[in-house]
Symmetry: C2
Subunit: 209 residues, 2 copies
């Protein structure tokens, strides 16, 4: 039977967000406690808030936007890899996992989400690892904090390498409740026309050996 | 092989929205054409924009919010029913389809999305049909315009009946490309903490007889 596990972070006002982005707001615009006929929230946020995806268009002009992502990029088998390095995902560690063409890979690291504060030092994919993933022709990757690339340092380069190769990137996952192994993945980003990225909901289901 | 079909409407600035809701905006806040390091849009919209879901909390205080929806409500088999009536979904027409407990039902009507204007007269589920669906103990329903209930008239009552019974409601689908029959459905709303509803992405795959 299906036993889907949610790997999305909850969206709420004031949640951690990338420095410079607007503070996410999910405020009640209609409120039955105040006499309104119904409850209804209004949303204000960057497209790169919480669990979300980056399209190539995020860092590469004239490339694919999120509404044009093939659904197979994020619906299908995926492998969850536990990253041991405390600071970054590097090519040496990746080499041990023998990543195959078209794989969907989720990276579980020691990253944790603070309820409100953005963490500037999180485990990220360095530029050399990004090149390794491109060489291995991975289809889709995911990571358990707000960005696949570092805050400052080589974060821009990591994005340029991955997105320049047409790799689809899921960011801001909560992988704390799942163990390394094989899963069915479903990650559906909002269909923002011409969007460089979009908030998404992601779930997995263990594939029994 | 998987052959998923997108049944979500694209999100774009100025798209049709419920009267009184903010005009949806997906503006470019960072733009490589203007010299920025990347492209990034900021989003402003009601939680009930485009393809989205209503949680019971939308019309019933102290009831389930969208982040607490069981994933089985919107991941699993679903039946697409073609509605023949030009104006509304009524209990007489529904009775002919012999709806079973826990079914997920998508209603395809003659509704069409105008690119920018909200249509005040759309095929909707009337209050008597809502009561029929509650009696039949349906799990989840979907419709191909912005609201399951009418604009004005008995629209509030329809919502109160369905949501009061804990039925999960998908609104704003684009069913124009799919035919009546059996499908695998995946509809994933954003995980808005305590949310009365949320934008969603929805896909289906035909179940061959």
């Amino acid at each position: 039977m299906s036993n889907w596990i949610d790997i999305s972070v909850p969206l709420h006002s004031g949640m951690p967000h990338w420095p410079g982005d607007p503070v996410p707001s999910m405020a009640r615009a209609l409120d039955m406690d105040l006499g309104d006929i119904c409850n209804a929230r209004h949303l204000t946020m960057s497209a790169h808030t919480g669990t979300h995806m980056d399209a190539p268009l995020h860092f590469v002009n004239n490339s694919e936007s999120i509404d044009r992502m093939p659904l197979t990029a994020t619906i299908g088998p995926a492998r969850l890899i536990q990253i041991e390095h405390p600071d970054f995902i590097g090519p040496e560690e990746l080499a041990r996992h023998d990543i195959q063409p078209r794989e969907r890979i989720l990276f579980k690291t020691r990253n944790v989400w603070h309820p409100t504060a953005f963490a500037k030092t999180f485990v990220h994919c360095n530029a050399a690892a990004a090149r390794h993933l491109v060489e291995r022709k991975v289809q889709t990757i995911g990571i358990d904090y707000l960005s696949i690339g570092a805050y400052e340092r080589d974060g821009v380069e990591t994005h340029q390498i991955l997105l320049g190769a047409g790799i689809w990137v899921i960011e801001g996952l909560d992988l704390s409740q799942i163990e390394p192994g094989s899963y069915d993945l479903i990650c559906l980003p909002l269909k923002i026309l011409g969007g460089d990225g979009a908030p998404a909901r992601a779930v997995v289901r263990k594939i029994e050996d």
